[in-house]
Symmetry: C2
Subunit: 297 residues, 2 copies
């Protein structure tokens, strides 16, 4: 990634972090602990890929007032964080670490972690409806955004992917099933992020192109994740390496092997870059897309 | 309750049940089990109080096309059911029974119960946004409804109440704290249901009156719940009696005693009936309100 792109990414991440922090700034006296748990997980770091994608698609599509839609881009990170908290719970993956820190249910009681995830899920929709009530976006756009986001989260989106993931544990699955699993589990929310940026800018005719880009990017991103799980270190990943294979998860590496996985991730990244050509001023996102392939965490 | 009111209530419940069933009619092949778990808990019975309140406020405020807003009224029951599933989980109240049947996490793996709750939470907002995309309600109304519902669910609503409830377990709390706890835990969603009915009918000036009614009803409802936990039978309640006191929950009975609780429930019911006089054609809801005081489950 070139220096200009790095600087822009840093600026995006800083802006997103500040906005995420503002969501839980007000901690009510009696139930403040759930806000602390939400904040703990929101502030545990992370690439902020989904809000950055939303903001960048908004910008590439001619959106001019990023400040006014920042919280909407961040609503997608609320959902992502909710999914990580619930994914780590003992009845799910039972992961003690997330991004080098104790998981939410290790830092807080399990009940509070559960409720923090629930509250983050709901808060995403509150944030979007507030933007319309404030007059920052039209009610029509808010409805489209909520529709796209809720579908991306639900039974035919992220949550559906988690269910398929559980069903596939310890089983031999074919590449088609794995593709469906991952297109739901990771892809749906990444697609929602890109599409929401386009909707916010009002360039509705570009929604299919954004979705195509997101589909290729999402799969490439997941394959790299699976590769890192076998080749990374605890320091890089912030969690024990090989935890996927210990849990008998179906991954691209387990189904295709390391070399073939690497090849396909490269091919998908090229496809994603191709889809980006439909968008003007795509320099930063091209850099970022390329960078995600060679990331170490 | 008189016969006409009984018949209307039966009709409401039947209509609501059918609508709830339709939400999970489509069960995708790979992840259908989560839809089965959602359906299991949605169809476990229950009074359907929240959708009925929403539909009846809509009607009392002049709403004429109940079929077109039925799914929105039912979206509140999706939220209520999500909260029951998560409340029953081992890390929360660890309840094995709900309405006389095994809890969701006893009938399904705990992971699936968790995800079914998550999916129901999100689905509520998808349903409301769909109604606007279909043109059945305006986008402006959808945004108001989503705002009201998400606030009723969140940190200063139902979920906040669950957090306070956990914090108060085993402690001596005063009546003020208990009132706050219950106004969040039970009251917020009941208020959302009533207010959403008023919004759907477009009689915005009546929102405060609906909220006042809901506040009194919600507290009366909770006190009766607490009384039933000590005086009811398994057959009536569908769960072991005395389970609240076994879990050292703070209840109106534990704080105020049985007699005083009964008195206050009566007073609150009278207050609720008083607030209803602001609404025309309030016969059915007056009957229902009165009936909730003397219910056996």
């Amino acid at each position: 990634m070139n220096d200009a792109a790095k600087q822009l990414l840093d600026k995006y991440v800083k802006t997103v972090d500040e906005c995420l922090l503002s969501f839980t700034a007000d901690k009510p006296e009696l139930q403040g602990v759930v806000c602390e748990a939400m904040e703990y997980s929101l502030m545990a770091g992370g690439k902020r890929l989904r809000p950055v994608l939303c903001l960048e698609f908004y910008r590439m599509c001619g959106g001019k007032d990023m400040d006014s839609i920042l919280d909407i881009a961040c609503s997608i990170e609320l959902i992502h964080t909710f999914s990580l908290i619930h994914d780590d719970l003992p009845c799910m993956d039972n992961d003690d670490y997330r991004r080098g820190k104790p998981s939410c249910h290790k830092a807080f009681p399990e009940s509070i972690a559960l409720l923090a995830g629930d509250a983050l899920n709901t808060l995403a929709f509150e944030v979007i409806s507030n933007a319309a009530l404030d007059g920052r976006i039209s009610a029509d756009k808010a409805v489209m955004l909520i529709s796209v986001l809720s579908k991306g989260v639900g039974v035919n989106g992220m949550i559906g992917g988690q269910v398929i993931d559980l069903a596939c544990e310890g089983k031999d699955v074919d590449i088609e099933t794995l593709n469906v699993l991952q297109s739901y589990k990771t892809g749906a929310l990444i697609e929602a992020a890109c599409v929401m940026g386009v909707i916010l800018a009002g360039k509705f005719e570009l929604i299919p192109k954004a979705a195509e880009y997101a589909s290729a990017l999402g799969r490439a991103f997941q394959i790299v994740d699976d590769l890192l799980d076998v080749t990374g270190t605890f320091e890089e990943l912030g969690k024990p390496i090989g935890s996927d294979s210990e849990q008998h998860k179906c991954t691209y590496v387990s189904v295709l092997g390391e070399n073939r996985s690497r090849q396909i991730a490269s091919q998908l990244t090229m496809q994603a870059l191709g889809h980006l050509t439909a968008f003007e001023d795509n320099g930063f996102l091209s850099e970022l897309t390329d960078d995600l392939l060679s990331r170490r965490n």
